[in-house]
Structure formats: structure tokens, C-alpha cells
Symmetry: D3
């Protein structure tokens, strides 16, 4: 159920019944030749829809313009500052509360948004409205079972086996596997300790082996993520 | 051509060819029982698409969360502050320029956004990128020919004959004419001189006679708006 | 009755009796060779004084430094940013309320200030103090009767027949009609859709035919504006 | 020569000739029963005029709304925050420079404005425009010769012998000596080390013996202040 | 070599020779009955000193006041907002660059500071000065070898076996092991997805078994952290 | 008693007993060849310790990074902006109140911090917590008795006879009198009326005759300052 497609008609009743407002947060960001710039937005939207299938709720319009630093100088990226993102989420959250929702769920598909999200929800949390922010929670176990190419570095994944598999499952129509490559940038070991933009060490935005991606892998991981989220939310329904 | 559906593949070439980036700016806002909360976003998106049909260009993802003051306390509205909106537009505009677009076109469907838009574009305008912001330009003449119910007050129109006609033409699937009413709030004469929220004088968000709306009227006005915009943009192509 | 000329003596009593605080908002801005840079401030002050003659009230000191964008690069203009102006009005308004006034009336003579004013009064309005902001309200009818040269473009008027007539009526001592010219800049049609500073299309700051101005025209329009404002305010006295 | 009374006519020439822009900064602030609320604004304006008599220059419109903390809760005061004041002065200073003035002189008559002024001028100072800020410089010696009542505490003086004498000399028409009192508040010794508003220890805003004020004392001190300022400015002319 | 203990004497020469400026960032935060409130500041300082022993450099004064959210409501904590912390680090970094240092190393001992640090260094990084931020890098392997009690949850450790061991090694004089307890709060599984302050689920601030701490464990882990940092920095010397 | 060395153990009791939290505020700033860059921080800390010897209280960690404008371009200085300093003090003060202290005492040793401190304490003062800010109060009389070299200009003193004497008394181990010089910069008379950085008129940062400094002078002045502060604080104990 999409919030923006509702009218005023019985709106209060619907909000009371659905309880949950889900905010998909994506990005406009370079994702290689095989994935669209809107990959993160699309994934967040479709993941939110899957969660709603399981536990109900109303999906808010997607927040497309977010904080992109690592690929912030590459063509195709359209980002905003971290502060603007944080304040926007904060104000949306307060409006969600004003509308009477009992649970505010952020479905985030772009890791770069995480610190803005965390600060935003800390600023608005209180006893009245429960707040969750999910960036593919519970994916680790499923990923370790199906992933073939190995993560390139730390927690980040981008336009490679994982994310491409997610897209193949959730939004195959936007994927052009004929252009998928096995990106293998040498991620500098010190990227955890010093600011390095990805364009400093990689020609493309594909941070891993996208050719290994399959719809099946995507389905397996995403379904467990949805399950994971559903379990958490069901406690409050 | 939607920007978010493009990949990195030949992106530079496409941007150079299309020249124009269009940013639809809408709102999440109460629009009565017959129109969806996302009315302004939907209209901005579809209007942008029509402009692209005429002059080309790439449509950026829609800015859904905007500044809603007049109906800012009503259920269904999810707004952000004027300052946040202005800064967001400003930063998006700078990114559009960095991506190499020659013309930045804002297609705005919510009048409340106008002052934020105006300040934003003033802040970023220079000789490198041409900027336009359109809020149904050139509609007045066409409106005077087809509109039956008369504007309630000044420049604003909301969920009444005009906007409902626009929706019937551009997004009929979201309109439920069976719930359309002839709203006739007594708009206080002094609304131009003193801050008054619309909920202070109107029970519903329908600011006029929505029952008079027809797809034909919408088509007539919107087509002339599209024509008007296309004429302006074509000078730079 | 000027606020700044009062002492503490019986001040509370006077405020209670007068009820209204009027804030003239002008500008320091290029106005051609025949009008002074302080034209807008002078007009706002004298208009406020005329309103007080009709309905009483205390006139606050004039806000001279305001937001000038269109003529912001021309010699003679001394402007501040829109945000600063808005915050200043907001804080003044709160102080006016703290002093016990029941009505806060902004008399604005510079159109560029309008969006700052609107945001400011929205931020402070509540049930305790009534707020009005007037930029020559009700002038349109009178203007249509007396004006000979026609408006150049849209709503704006600047240093031409209208404003010069106002000055001739309200502050003739500052006008040098021997230097008045018939300015006829080609205002670009797209000025409503794209940011254009006036110096881009006009050599002088006279945006119309100042030679057509007469004291009589000014008197006719200003008197109806004063009448209009007085009618509104009298309802609350 | 008042800047706001000039027109565009030969403005560039006048600015080049006069070199100096003087900005009077006052306050809207309670000053007892015998002095007007605008005392500081009036003093700053008239002092500026006297300086211009000596060294030329153009007087900008007065900044009336400033930072009042010590008497910030008293009736009659209309203040703005320190930050707003500082930013306003900063922006005015930059505009003064843009207009081509070679010296920017702030004539300040309200001590509470000093830290905002200091920060503002630090932010804009460079090699192009010389900046001065004067708060009755060089008054000390003259004061020690004529003052009878003794300063109440530290550097501040307010609506007492000194300021009332200034007003008697510069703006006698606004003074009502019949209402002057010998205020003798017990200024807490610790006021230099802890925030204390004056209303915490004084019933009136008269911080000393206003009855001792004479026009002659005012003339003596103000003339030496003007002399002092003129000497400094003449070095650059 | 402590920066604050140097004088102007041969300072330029010393900076050129030492190349590195190290900024210890700690916290003022509740750490149980056995560890001091300044634990994080002390650890950051002593760790920085150990790094200097290995690779040289000058240690800047410690940043004590930082961002504490999780234990932000507990007695003993004195925190500042995330934004203030970020801006402070940013401005310090720019000053470090102005002073001519070639490497700016942040030694951080409080995880809550990480997102502010990351944003700050992103804002100032460029080609002139290399920037590193270290929060016990490379500790994981050593920890897995010596730690007995197991981490309570995710990445965080606080006043338990790990941190207490660090203190026993680096600052034994501040530890009172007789008051160490085996804290075993039930950390809510959803703490990664929803804002929860630690005082909501734990009576004490000891987030694990502090009784298991030994000086030897601390030495083993800290020494490998120092080694790890030294290896990275030596590449630039 | 240092706050940062306390643990949670009986912390509430200690705070209730000690009542006073003292915040030393210093600077990182060039102080000539004979005094360390941390002179102001060291002085503030040691002065705070002396006050605690007299009246009890808990000393908070030192605020090292503060606002340095006059020597802000010199090597050795690491400053932050005035706004950041003010906000940091404000937030620390609010945390001190939250911790239950009854008196918040700022011991400041850098005059440049004064306006930030003053604004900060004004923003947080209320009836619950008493706030004091001391910058060597009551030193004037003692100084006039012992000082030989005469103040260079107005209120400021820096790395000369006074400050060096303070250091000789409070932190002799950091002073190298063999490098002390008799600085005698020509302080421009107009420094009180126009922004001038000290590096514009002085080769060194020694603003007076440091060779005249003695431990005895420092002891005499500092002891009377401590006495002065103790007298004020004892009234509230």
C-alpha cells in the first residue's frame, strides 16, 4: 500500500490499521554499465514492498537524493550533503509521527546514508513512535552461503555479485548482464583509516565480480532479509 | 528518458546529447477524497515526461518531500521546512551542473515550493548552466477559456476543477471522481496579508469545485503549458 | 506616534491603548537619478504614518537593510541576505509580542522582501497576536484608473510612474523630476522562469516611464491603500 | 551627507570623493522616563553627523535593531540576537566595500553591540577597505573632568549623567528632564563574573544620577569624542 | 613530544622534522566503578605517546569533550553534540595543515566519535596533508587470541575485559580492580536497527566482564595496535 | 579533585558534596621562545587547582582548543572559531547542570575567549545553577604593586612580565627564562577601533618585557586572584 496513492478518504482509519510507515532511502549513484543509477532507490522500494507483503504498512515516497561521498565525483551521481539528508529524515520522521503511525521503518539501500540516518533517528526517538532503520539486516549468513566472489573489502558492496543479484531478483528489467564485468579494484588497505574516494583506485564503479550474480542468489538473500525484518516488526503488531 | 534508469554506459554521451535535466518537484499533501496525496508529485512527473517528448532531456527522480504550510497540519501531509527544500534544490542543481547538463529545468507542481525554488536557483545561477523553474507557465489563458467554476482566491488552486482536470488528463488512474465534491470554503479575504492555514477555514482540502473537472479541460490546459515550456527550451537547443 | 520617541513613562498604558505596532520595511537600493536610494524606506515610513493617522498605533523604527537581489549588483544598493532578513523580522515580531502589542503590522515597500516576510510571520503567528503584512494592498484598482504608462512586466514596479507618484505625494522633497526619465528596458519574457538580474537588461534602474508620475496619481492610489489597510485593521480595534 | 538621500546621479563620483561610509548603530531600549527608547539610535546618528561635519563622508541608514541583553526583558526594548546583529553588520560591510568606499566607520552608541561588531569587522577586514568601530572613543579624559556623579560600575553607563548629557547636547528635543531621577541601583559586585540582567537589581533603567546631566557636559565630552574620531580618520584622507 | 610543551623556539624546524601531528580524542563518560570518567581520553593520550615512541611526531592536546549518546544520560558523562565535535575536528585539522604538518593522525578511543571524525576528515582531505583516523586498528586478531569473555554485542566494548585491560596496561594507576564487576547486560538484539540508549537495558556502564581484564592482555593487544599504526605511518616517513 | 579521575563510584555523593565544577579554558597559542604553546591551558588548570585547594570542587578536563584571532596566523597557534567555542561551552555547561553541580566556574586564561564565554553563559543561566567566569579577577591592584614594565596597551598582556611571572609561579618547569626577551612592539594606538592582528606590528609574540618576570611577582598576583575567587565562591558554600 503506497501512501502517496491514498487519498484523504478513510486515511485516519488506514493509518491506524496499518500502523507502519516505511521510508525507502536510496541514491542516485554510478553503478557500472550493467546497473542503473537508481539501483539503490529501486532496491529500497522493492524491498519495502516485500516487507509490506509480509506485515502490512504504508510505503512512503522514496528519498532519492542522499549522501554519496565515495563515488561523489563520478558522472551519474547526484548527491546532497550529509547534514541535509539527516535533517530531511528527521523532519519526515516527525511528520510520520504527527500522522499517527506507530512504527517508522527506514529501508535503506545505500550504506553511505547510515550515519545520517542514525543521527536522525536518535534525534526524534521517544516513547510514542517506534523507529527502525534497516540496511539489509541479517544478510550476512545467507550471503556466506551463496556468495562466490568474496567481499572486496570490509562491509561495503557495490554493483558487484551481491547487489547485482539483488537487482536480478527484485528488478531484473533494469539489469543488463551483458555489460556486467568482474571488477577487481585494488582497494587500498588503509581505506578504513583515511578518506579515499573510490575513483582514486578504481576506473569503474563495479566493486567486485558482477558476472557471478544470479537471480537465485538475490532471491535467497533478499528473502532472508525480508524474513528478518518481518520477525522484528511482527513483535509490535 | 529517465536519468535513474540509465547506467554508466555511454552516460557522458547521452548527457551531452540530451542537454536538459528536468527535476519534478511535487509534495506529499492532502488533496481531498478524490485525489491522491501524491497528486503534485505525479503531476510534476507526468508533465516533465510530456516536455521530454517534445524537446528531449533526462528526467531526474522526483523530489517528493517539500514545503507544505497551508495544509501542513492536515492528515496526509508530510512536509519539510522551506530552508531544507531550498538547500536540497541548490545542491541538486550544483550536481546537475557537475554532470555536464547545459539546462536545468525544474517542473514544480506545488505552489508552496516557489519561494524555496526561487532562492535556490538564484544561489546557483551563473553563465555555465541555464536554469528554468516552471509552475504551469502559460496556463492562465487556457484556463480562462475552459474553467467553469472560477478561482476561489488569488493564484492558488488545489484539488479543485483545475488540478483535478490535470489529474484526469495525466493520471486518471489515481482519480476517484465519485468522491469529488464542490468544495466552497470561505477563503478569508485577508489571507494575502496575514498567515492563515487552510484548515482554519475549510473542513476539506478541496479548494473549489472538483466536480466540474474533465479530462478534456486538463488536456487543453496541460497541452498549452507543455507547448509554452517547449517553446522556451527550444531556443537553447 | 513613534515608538522610539516614547520613554518608559506610561509606556505600558500607551501600548495597551494603541494596540498596534507598525514596522516599516524598506530598502537601500538604486532608484534612478530622480529618486533617492532610500525610496522604499521613506515610502514605508510615510505610509505607516498615514495608517496611524487613521487607526492609531505606534510606528517602530524602520528596517532599512533588506533583501535586494534584482538590483543587488548595482551601485547604491546595500542589501542583506534573505535569511538574515527573515530572522530579523521574526525576532522583532517576538519582541513586539513580548511588549504586549495585540497587532503587528508590517508595512513593506520593497517587493523583494515579500518571501522573507511571509516566512517570518508564518514562524511566529499564533493566537495571541494578530499579524499583518502589507505591500500596497488594494492598489490595483486605483492604479488601473490613473496609470498612463502601463506596467512593464508582471507585478513589479520600480522607480517608474507608480513609485515616483507615490514619492511625489508622500515625500516630494526627495524627488528631482528634472532627472526623471522614461525607462523602457526590454524585460526578458522569461524573467518569471529563470533568474535574471535587472542589470542584465537595463542600463538604468528606472523600470518604466517616470516622467508620467504626478503627485495627484500618488495621492489617489496611496489614499486608497491607506483606506484599504485601515478597513482591515479597524475590525480588530 | 546621508547616503539614503542620494540618488544614482553622480553616485560613483560622490563615493569616490567622500571615501567614508558611516554606519550608526543604536538600539531600541528602555532608557527611563526622561529619555526616549531610541536614545542610542539618535545619539549614534547625531554623532555620525558631527563627524561628517569635520571630515566628510556619507551616513548610512541607522541600524536600530540590535543586541540588548542586560535590559532585554524590560518593556520598551526590542532586540535581536547577537548572531543576527553580527551577520547583518558583516553583510552591510561587504556591501559598503562593493560600493567602493575606502573607509567603513561604525558609530556605535550601545555597548551591548560591541562583541558583535568586533567579530563582524574581523570577518571582513582586509587590505582594500579600512574599518573603524567607535563607541565614544576618547571620552574618558573629558568625562573625568566634568562628571559629578561617578560611574556606577565598570565601563557601562546608561540613561544617567553621561548619556543624558549627551542627549541634552545632541537631541535635547527628546529629553524630559522633569522626569529625570537619580537612579542608584546597587549593582552587584559580581556582575563582571556572572550573568545578571539589570532588571534583577534595578527597578528603573536609569543606572546613575540623571539629574546631574547638563547640555554643557554633553557638549564638552561629545566634542572631544568627535575631535578624537576626526583625528583618526583624517590620517586616511 | 607534546606540542603544547613546545615554545616558538625552533618550532618550524621541529614541525618539519616530526611531520606528524597526533590528536588524541577521548570522552568524559561513565565507565563503571573501577575505571575513571576520563578513561577514553587517557587511553587516547597514552596510545598516542606509544605511537610517537615508534615513529616520532608531536602530540596535540587531547580533545576531551566529545559525542556521547549511548551513555549520554548517565551521571559522569559530559558530552557535546555530534555536529560540534565534527566542526571542531575540522577546524583543528585545518590549523594543523596551516602549521605545516604533513600527516594529521587522529587517535580516537571512543567509538561514538567515529562518524563525526569521518565527516570531518572527508571535509578537509586534499593532496597537501595526509590524514589518518585510528580507533584501535588491527586489534581484532590479537583480541581473538587473548580475550576470554566474548564481546557482548557487535563492535562495541566498554569498561569490560578489553578496555579494562587496555587501562591496566596503559594507565594502571587509575584502575581499581577491586570494584571491577562482571557486567552482563542483556543487550537488545535490535540495538543495530533502532535507537536504544544503554541505560535502557543496563544498570551499570560495564558492558562485559571487567574482572577478566589483565595488564598482560592489554599489553598484548595495545602493542599490536601500536605496531599496526606504526607500520602505516612509516610508509610516509 | 579532578572530575575525569573519578569513577562512577559514589559519584553522585561527591558531586553533591563538592557542589562546584571548574572548567579551565586555555588556548594553543604562540607565546614566544620562553613560554610553551600551552601556556594558557596550563595556567587555567593550575589556577583552578589552587581555587579547589581553597573551596573544594571538581576540576573538569581543560578546554584547549579555543578562539585565537590576534595571533591566529602565527606558527604554533591552533584555534577554532568563536562560534564553535561558544557552543561548546554552552553544551558543557548544560551537561554540568545535568550532573547536578550547583556552581559552574569557568577559569579562563585567554582573553580572546571572553566574548564566547559571556555569550555562552548568558544562554544557559537560570535559577538552578550559579555560573561564574573568571579571567584573573582582582589582579589589577596586585599588579599595580609589583609590575615594573608597565602594560603595553589596554587590558591585554601576553607572554610578558605578567604572564611569565604567572608561569614562573604556577608552572616553572615549562619556562625557559634564558630565552625571555624584552619585547617592545609598537602597538598601534588604533587597535581598539580597528581590527589588527598582532603579527602586523610585532615580530615576536612577546608583548612586553618578559625579562622582568619573577616567580615572586607571579605568586603575589596569583595568590590574590585565588583569594578573590575564593571569596566570591564561599558565599554559596
Amino acid at each position: 500500500m503506497k501512501f502517496n496513492e491514498q487519498s484523504d478518504y478513510k486515511l485516519e482509519e488506514k493509518i491506524r490499521r496499518e500502523k507502519i510507515a516505511l521510508l525507502p532511502i536510496g541514491a542516485v549513484e554510478s553503478h557500472g554499465d550493467h546497473l542503473p543509477l537508481g539501483t539503490d532507490s529501486i532496491l529500497a522500494e522493492r524491498l519495502a514492498a516485500k516487507v509490506v507483503e509480509r506485515v502490512g504498512g504504508m510505503v512512503l515516497p522514496t528519498l532519492h537524493y542522499t549522501y554519496v561521498w565515495s563515488l561523489g565525483r563520478r558522472l551519474g551521481t547526484i548527491g546532497i550533503s550529509n547534514d541535509l539528508l539527516r535533517e530531511t529524515i528527521k523532519e519526515i520522521g516527525l511528520e510520520v509521527k504527527r500522522n499517527g503511525f506507530k512504527i517508522f521503518v527506514i529501508i535503506n539501500a545505500h550504506l553511505g546514508n547510515l550515519s545520517a540516518i542514525k543521527e536522525a533517528v536518535r534525534a526524534i526517538y521517544d516513547d510514542e513512535m517506534k523507529i527502525y532503520y534497516f540496511s539489509y539486516p541479517g544478510a550476512d549468513k545467507a550471503l556466506s552461503e551463496v556468495m562466490e566472489s568474496g567481499k572486496l573489502y570490509g562491509d561495503f558492496f557495490h554493483a558487484e555479485e551481491i547487489e547485482t543479484s539483488y537487482m536480478l531478483y527484485l528488478a531484473e528489467e533494469y539489469v543488463d548482464m551483458s555489460k556486467a564485468i568482474a571488477g577487481s579494484p585494488e582497494v587500498p588497505a588503509e581505506i578504513s583509516y583515511t578518506p579515499i574516494r573510490w575513483d582514486e583506485f578504481s576506473e569503474t564503479s563495479v566493486m567486485g565480480d558482477a558476472t557471478k550474480a544470479t537471480r537465485e542468489k538475490g532471491r535467497y538473500v533478499i528473502d532472508s532479509v525480508v524474513e528478518y525484518i518481518a520477525e522484528i516488526l511482527k513483535r509490535h503488531l
